[in-house]
């Protein structure tokens, strides 16, 4: 390469190349992304994730015996995590087309830790049967399958929309899906053992977060 000449320094950018010119020649109108509509769609998929297992298998049989503060409080935590994370992942900063991937990832990771801690520390003392931890892996399996619904839905809506920070944003998205699945498990699973709640319920958020990071890095780049 040569020393920069004044001609190089003053050179204007080249005009659009052949590939770009050909793409422009076939330009078709598109609808721009609507983040609020995307959020509504993902929240709808979360509502399905919570409602479908309850409709198919019913609510937990000890629901009436649970302390109201526990049933409502833990349920509200799952709900707030799911909605807040979905909003953080899908809504860009005001006046911007870019989302906040680092913030979504950090809060997603924090939510995963909170979900595990919630299971380990907050559980009904007098109700819920103890169960060997590994025997309850159906909760982890079903929870992950449920989490994939809003994750997949959001990935479809975010395809080609995230130039940088994809994995971070995906971690937040995965945690949102995991929290929705956690709410479904909270309303259905009657086992109140701390290890079961921490590993098989909280673990859904951890694994969904990792899965979201992997999938978003693959499917959301322009």
């Amino acid at each position: 390469m040569n020393e920069p000449s004044s001609q190089d320094l003053g050179a204007a950018p080249p005009p659009p190349g052949d590939a770009l010119a050909a793409a422009l020649a076939a330009l078709q109108p598109r609808r721009p992304r609507r983040p609020l509509r995307d959020l509504a769609v993902v929240l709808g998929s979360m509502a399905m994730v919570v409602a479908a297992p309850l409709l198919m298998m019913g609510v937990r049989r000890d629901l009436g015996a649970l302390p109201r503060s526990y049933a409502l409080g833990v349920g509200a935590i799952w709900l707030v995590l799911a909605v807040a994370l979905a909003a953080l992942v899908l809504l860009p900063r005001r006046g911007q087309a870019l989302m906040r991937p680092w913030l979504a990832g950090a809060i997603g990771a924090g939510s995963a830790a909170l979900a595990v801690a919630l299971g380990a520390l907050v559980h009904p003392p007098t109700t819920g049967a103890a169960r060997p931890v590994l025997a309850g892996h159906a909760c982890l399996d079903v929870g992950l399958a449920l989490a994939l619904v809003p994750i997949g839905c959001a990935l479809l809506l975010l395809r080609r929309a995230v130039p940088t920070g994809n994995a971070w944003l995906g971690a937040g998205l995965g945690a949102a899906g995991g929290a929705a699945a956690g709410l479904a498990l909270h309303l259905h699973c009657p086992y109140g053992d701390a290890l079961h709640l921490a590993i098989m319920h909280g673990g859904v958020v951890v694994l969904a977060s990792l899965l979201g990071a992997l999938l978003a890095a693959r499917f959301t780049r322009p």
Partner: protein, 191 residues
Amino acid sequence: MAGDLPSLMLRYVEGDAAAFRVLYDALAPRVLGYLVGMARDRARAEDLLQQTFLKVHRARDRYVVGADPVPWVLAIAHRTFLDDHRARGRARVTSTASGELPDVAVDLAGQAPGHADEPRADLTQHARVLAALGELPDAQRQAVVLTKVDGRSMADAAAIAGTSVGAMKVRAHRGYLALRRLLGAGDREAP
């Protein structure tokens, strides 16, 4: 012009090719300046510029109405640079083996975007800065180019890089220090 960019972008998304051409004329110098700052090779930067706008074209329906398209396009440019950089299997972009300087672009040659009316600074000094930029790690170089060359705010630069404002401040600060050290070393070595 900056105030018109969101409406131009929307017209382009809605199928107006003429709006794209105006948008390209407005954005290409900034994007090229950014890519030259990152790649330090004019020919490669021009190739990346074309790839960037092809990606913008394919992702145009991901644009959000009313949003400033500049950070979005710069973020796509950065993604394009990273993909190319990784494909080439290099950890860093450096000057050539013979020590010659690469070609440089308009916006790194003494005229920051939006400051075309200001007097152009000494070309040799800018070539030295460009060479010193090449010695910085990618993340620090990106921080310096975005905040000092392109004049973006820390918040915008962080959004473009997909990182936190705090992390961007640290990268930029370390980049400035390293740049000052490199340029200071050059001054001491000069006869």
